[in-house]
């Protein structure tokens, strides 16, 4: 404040993360990809790894990572991002390597790749965005679709007798010895966003410290395919999604048990 009472900004207290590209978003209103991109970009900035990073984009809405995060990005076939990331990390162990994958990509077609990357303790980080549906292809049933949830391929609601159960990846991957860190977070309230950022920081630190495989699962919205207004979609995350997919840290390695 100046003495005349006019506001003068001398020191920025909030800026766009350096690693977030300054472009208009193409994502739907109420979609969480933008928020999650920002958290990832802030953490890249925090650890100063932007110029040392290689991101791996997947198939689905999440592929457009490369339009928003200002780092080198390679695009993987559907579900194969953890294998591609393995090839990048093994070739360049000094680089920071992360994948950014949706639930169809990681928990259906790519289950094998993510389980084995985790089980090998690949020293890389997976950002997993779970919105319980296939967004880009028009809202079909995902492996994480909740029981009773109506999608374009479960028009009468998901029934465990024919479609099985929603798969809990954060818990499943936490059960593997190679996993250093596994957490589930959400970004539907400011408090959740702060916690989510802390989880991503922890996941990044695991990789930076050579501790092994780290994954952060985000519960995310898809208002368009859920047929909901953005605010109602937030409510769904806070309600039935968080009830079935409990938030929390499922695995946190304290000490590297391999070089």
């Amino acid at each position: 404040m100046s003495i005349e009472g006019k506001t003068e900004f001398t020191k920025p207290v909030y800026t766009r993360p350096r690693s977030l590209v300054d472009v208009k978003t193409h994502f739907c209103p109420g979609c969480h990809h933008g928020t999650i991109h920002k958290i990832v970009a802030e953490c890249i900035d925090r650890y100063g790894v932007r110029e040392n990073s290689i991101g791996v984009a997947c198939v689905g809405c999440a592929v457009f990572l490369y339009d928003y995060i200002d780092v080198d990005v390679v695009e993987a076939p559907h579900g194969r991002a953890p294998a591609v990331a393995t090839g990048v990390k093994r070739a360049q162990p000094d680089k920071f390597v992360f994948t950014y994958q949706g639930d169809g990509d990681l928990a259906a077609i790519g289950t094998s790749e993510v389980i084995h990357a985790a089980n090998r303790g690949e020293n890389l980080t997976v950002v997993f965005v779970n919105n319980t549906t296939y967004g880009m292809t028009g809202g079909q049933m995902a492996p994480t679709t909740l029981l009773g949830q109506k999608t374009s391929t479960t028009p009468y609601g998901r029934d465990f007798r024919s479609d099985g159960y929603p798969i809990k990846m954060a818990e499943l991957l936490a059960g593997l010895d190679g996993t250093a860190y596994s957490a589930r977070v959400a970004v539907s309230t400011p408090a959740q966003i702060r916690k989510a950022k802390a989880a991503v920081r922890k996941a990044f630190e695991m990789q930076i410290n050579g501790m092994g495989f780290s994954i952060v699962e985000f519960l995310s919205t898809c208002p368009t395919n859920w047929g909901m207004k953005p605010l109602d979609a937030q409510g769904r995350v806070l309600g039935e999604m968080s009830e079935y997919f409990p938030l929390g840290v499922y695995k946190e390695r304290k000490q590297a048990d391999f070089a």
Binding site: R50, E51, N52, S53, I54, V56, A57, V63, Y66, D70, V71, D72, V73, V74, E75, A76, P77, R80, A83, V84, A85, T86, G87, V88, K89, R90, A91, Q92, K95, S112, E113, H116
Partner: protein, 359 residues
């Protein structure tokens, strides 16, 4: 020359599959990913034993699907990288190969093929010709396909495959079979002499000091994918024009010309020498590159001989490319053996019969 190649600098008895490993290492390949399948297991076993000591990576993947995507990741990092497999495993890699062709990523893929379709058998076969040379995966692309017919060539063509893959930024395949992979021959580790620059300004190494780079095959805006398809087509046309390789074997004065590749060509050489001793004017054109196929060579050859005898260890695949190369279809004969190596006697009998028909 690597120290390994130096160790092997005098003639030794070596398996074809191992010669591939020596060629790869001599060409600077330090990264190998693979999954077990007969009859190529000598390759991952050799790489597992030798790459770590060279500061490289050997990783046994959970599947061929994962394998080819690890290859994709290491290739995108700018490093020379190889995998090997056999028919069923190569089928599982087709998705990744299509992505690599679309993303313009080099790598060397070795197919020590077996008989199929399906689980088929482990007998030597050339039944993967179509899959190798016509694209294999979705969307329209070509692999550079090299077909060695000796242990020595397993070595030299592997080195060449790395150079061609890097030069054209596209995957190259070594198409062998159980015979050329498993047989032992005297072998000499000749020096690796590359004309290809190792510069890869497109490689993803972190964006320090430059704009960020993307390696991708998705092109959604305007008609970007059509532009990209024509660009790839132009590249494959350049490969056709400049990289065709074939061996002429005893073709002087020949009235019968065998066209065969790999193991079938190797056996044919014996039969052709026997037939020459009997005074039959027979020789062979041996395609070394299957893509690009030596179309011009077949076109010219067919005009000068009475019979073009195509010999393959399948029921007739390359013969279609021979037919496409010449309008003189009535001169084309075929000897096929889908799940075994033809014997020199069988080939000689066929050459004699053809000579008799013409004589």
């Amino acid at each position: 020359m690597s120290s390994l190649a130096a160790e092997a600098s005098k003639k030794i008895l070596l398996k074809g599959n191992e010669a591939i490993c020596l060629g790869a290492i001599a060409a600077g390949c330090r990264h190998y990913y693979g999954y077990p399948i007969t009859p190529q297991n000598d390759i991952p076993e050799y790489m597992a034993a030798h790459l770590p000591a060279l500061g490289g990576t050997f990783l046994q993947a959970e599947s061929e699907v994962a394998t080819i995507n690890m290859i994709l990741g290491t290739s995108a990092s700018g490093k020379r990288v190889m995998t090997s497999s056999s028919g069923p495993g190569i089928s599982l890699m087709q998705e990744g190969l299509s992505y690599m062709a679309g993303s313009e990523l080099p790598a060397v893929i070795v197919n020590i093929s077996r008989s199929g379709p399906g689980l088929g058998g482990i007998a030597p076969s050339q039944g993967d010709y179509f899959q190798a040379v016509k694209g294999g995966g979705h969307g329209g692309y070509r692999l550079i396909v090299l077909a060695p017919h000796s242990v020595q060539e397993m070595y030299t063509l592997t080195m060449l495959a790395f150079d061609l893959a890097d030069r054209y930024r596209t995957p190259a395949m070594i198409l062998g079979d159980a015979i050329v992979g498993q047989m032992k021959e005297p072998f000499e580790a000749t020096p690796y002499d590359s004309a290809t620059t190792a510069e890869k300004p497109w490689a993803l190494t972190g964006c320090a000091g430059r704009e960020r780079l993307h390696v991708k095959s998705l092109h959604l805006k305007d008609n970007a994918i059509e532009v990209h398809n024509w660009k790839l087509h132009g590249k494959f046309e350049r490969i056709r024009k400049t990289e065709t390789r074939a061996e002429s074997f005893l073709l002087d004065g020949a009235k019968i010309a065998v066209v065969a590749f790999g193991t079938a060509a190797r056996v044919s050489k014996t039969a052709i020498q026997w037939a020459r001793k009997e005074g039959i004017p027979v020789g062979m054109l041996r395609p070394i590159t299957l893509f690009p196929f030596p179309e011009r060579e077949v076109f010219d050859l067919a005009k000068t001989v009475d019979v073009v005898l195509v010999i393959e260890m399948n029921t007739g695949q390359m013969v279609e490319d021979v037919r496409q190369s010449t309008p003189l279809h009535d001169r084309i004969a075929f000897l096929g053996k889908p799940c075994a190596m033809p014997t020199p006697e069988e080939i000689l009998d066929r050459i004699r019969a053809l000579a008799g028909r013409k004589g």
